[in-house]
Symmetry: D2
Subunit: 302 residues, 4 copies
């Protein structure tokens, strides 16, 4: 990830500027605002703005007139209760805005989360920079033998080198042809909205992405999960860090009741109950399909 | 609208507290944050929090690294261009959170705007206060003769007095029965989630309501319109004031391109073109239905 | 629930009409289309239209050219896999449209589910019928002692009778005053949009409500739950029946993986693992709060 | 656009199958159901399913308006009234499901319309076909001189040929490397979720896309517009045809009040009023910026 000196200066200027506000602030996120968190080889995540803090969740749940909450149940207890019982609307009262730079094939996964606001850099209007994603050696995974949408072992030796050569060579060539088609040196120059089609899917794009905390947690639950593609998981991990700094209580509840949680189907619950009662349950006697049995055993680490 | 001393103190405490932030601030809205703006006889609107300012719209449209934008086209010009061309996503990058107290029958209109986050005071969990809306004399309108969902002249004299007596008497009686049913003096007391059904639709409720600027403008265009019911229009008007203080450039563009704008259908446009060319066009020669002709003439003030 | 003869005739005519279609059909739901399913004392649910069937879920998941699916994993297995792994988009490819008549205080709970399309009967434009909800004796529940938003025992004897008298008396009186205010016998007559505010919250309204299967399941999971208010749960139960007739495979998966499922937090999962290993775990040794421990024990029926 | 014999047979089988239904049907769309409408060089649109017809709009609107359905104003008049007055919810009561094959860079524009359901062919799970978009000679447009996101003249001669050679050569090469990286002939084979990043943005993808009529009209207004990129406009045009066959009355209203309509800002309206009054208005005397003046003159064809 490399910034131009101008970009670095603009970011530094934003970080230096301070103003007084009457609004709720999150000291944890203030400290990290505008900072560039590198992700993958050229990508990043930056928190640009936020609304609300842990207390704002409590305030909304109570439809309060002020900040004070002298109720018996403390703020953290209430937040955990809300999370546990899927009372999602108080979490929607917090909002975050991120600036993200990411490869296009990852942007296509990300955008499937529809309850968010997005402004993407326009390749109809502007020319994309020459930046493309090449996996690090340790992430150059082979196709999984068992999971059609998963990864297996890491490629090595000549095969790895060959793959890297192909990826790099094609990205270089398609980008240089993109530039060539756009060029107007004595020619008309292809329109930007057409020329972009020659770029490969690992080309980086960037956007402003804004969402509320409830929908952010939903995104993180799916994308910070072990089954998510590595290249989106690293973004989710970086956002998990920011979210923990922003709303530590809500994030703690999210970790316990979502990230670290397991959902047992009715039939799986029966099997677990029998195990607790001391019975030796096998897939055959569980009534579960082989696939579900395997998943339940794995999730429960049994 | 009356606050308890505790509520007034909580609000004052919130207004007095200041903190330093790195975020974009809107001086206009900071000055009005948390303040109670009375609406109708017991309702109010208060701005609780916000994200972004006019510049944030420009930043998002440009997917900027920083704040500074010294481009040829200035910020206001760009904001007006975006509004005129229905580029709605940059406006979604600003967000506002309001605390609103309003009669239930108005809350039912309001909630039809789905792209918003809402936390309403729960009458399953808590007991509603004894506050209900009674129209002021000058708003006690008769049914319109010409518009099935509109208002005609204002009721006067005995009829007006009788209506006010009925509204007030019924609200008093149903509320006192609500209290009586809930009461546990030597009795079990009806559950809150059932007792509430005895209240009339002019009972006040309250909620936290949060939405982005694009959807707020959509709400305001429909609800600050002359055809909206008076009792929701006064809320929309109060929010228009807050919005103007918050994002003056965007609000100006909204006034010109939405609030004060007129949409001409293809056939209406033809008629207007003929008028500009000097032709004397009538409904009969316009090709428009009588209803649409009337609407176009009224909208264009011709 | 009572229909006018005209309404009954219109429904019968709709049920009798048949046409040929190339679309996917659900024989189970065809048999019940337009039928009035009574709910509460005057309410109902009717299925008005639908799109898709179980096979349509599979087709969308596979982005198929046709209907045939000769893959190893059969349709039901795939549907169950999709449900278990929260692949929600294929379920969004089915859609249902319902006509519902329901008390206003329940409509207010219902509308909080935002991802749906709604057309409600307008009391600005039309006059509401004189129909209001009065709980049956066995549902006249007292306030719960332990759960602030729950019900306790059923009221009995004089207290029950008194409550019923109050509810009925107030609904009768407020409705007759509503009629009186609207009346134009020698008077101007209050506008409809104002007069409606005098009605009590148990007055019936009605709407067309349309949603996709994924969001319908979300609604049903929350509203067919034992913690939902009885008066909305009966609607959810009726819709569960219709959904089972419509998409039996998807509904079966929903029963196993949502309705009958239990989510264990990370800490609760630890406790369960220790129980399976034969340890005697108590709340104190579990690390869970008293509240969460009670909930986990209840959910798992331990 | 080429189908495999299996795909063609599956489509034919679907078109041949008929069943009886009690639901509303649209004869116009039934006739075109499942049919492949070719778009661009390898893309297509197919209508897979629908819910509702023109009458369904009226039915939904009248739940909110009242009981009587033999009112003076006929169905078409009501539909036009609803469209003119932005009563959008009745149009949401119709739904359509399409199967679309389209280049990835167009899919990225399309997906920005968030109020829709989408199932896309997964390149994590499956291997994409070797199909990529190459513009026809008459659409090989140069960059516009005046509009940064527009097209100018068509490229010709050697420059055109060179661009086509580059586009075709790069797509061929990147696809063949994609295949090579996936291949397991004596090698591990790169995982699909990684290999796909080597493809160019003109590679075709496909999805099932489902939306309601209100949101479809919004999509069509923006994408069938003269300012939309040609490559998405041809899809919008094909869908316009299908929509006209499906709901002819609603589509007619959409043409008059949306597609063919012009929105005048407050200041532009003033200028038009002065023109109608016979005044000779110029940009300077209009009070409009040069840009807006040009747009207004163009829109009104003055």
């Amino acid at each position: 990830m490399s910034l131009t000196p101008e970009q670095a200066a603009e970011i530094a200027a934003q970080r230096d500027a301070r103003a007084e506000t009457r609004r709720a602030i999150s000291p944890g996120l203030e400290a990290r605002l505008y900072d560039v968190i590198p992700v993958l080889d050229h990508g990043f995540v930056r928190a640009i703005d936020y609304m609300g803090d842990d207390e704002a969740i409590v305030q909304a749940a109570r439809v309060s007139y002020g900040r004070g909450t002298k109720a018996a149940r403390n703020d953290e207890g209430l937040i955990r209760y809300l999370m546990r019982h899927w009372h999602s609307t108080p979490f929607e009262m917090c909002e975050i805005k991120l600036h993200v730079k990411l490869p296009i094939f990852i942007a296509r996964q990300w955008i499937r989360h529809r309850t968010a606001n997005v402004n993407e850099y326009s390749a109809r209007y502007s020319i994309l920079d020459k930046e493309y994603y090449i996996p690090a050696a340790e992430h150059l995974a082979a196709q999984s033998d068992t999971n059609r949408q998963g990864r297996g072992d890491v490629l090595t030796g000549d095969e790895a080198q060959h793959v890297l050569d192909l990826l790099r060579g094609d990205a270089e060539r398609t980008y240089s042809h993109y530039e060539e088609m756009l060029s107007e040196d004595g020619k008309a120059g292809l329109s930007r909205e057409l020329a972009r089609m020659n770029l490969t899917l690992n080309t980086y794009t960037q956007w402003y992405w804004k969402t509320d905390l409830h929908n952010l947690f939903h995104f993180l639950r799916l994308r910070a999960d072990a089954h998510a593609q590595y290249e989106i998981r690293v973004y989710a991990d970086a956002i998990c860090d920011l979210t923990k700094a922003w709303v530590p209580m809500a994030y703690g509840a999210f970790e316990d009741y979502r990230l670290g949680a397991v959902t047992l189907s009715g039939p799986a619950l029966d099997a677990v109950r029998r195990m607790i009662a001391g019975e030796q349950v096998t897939q055959e006697t569980s009534g579960l399909s082989a696939g579900e049995w395997r998943e339940v055993m794995a999730q429960m680490a049994l």
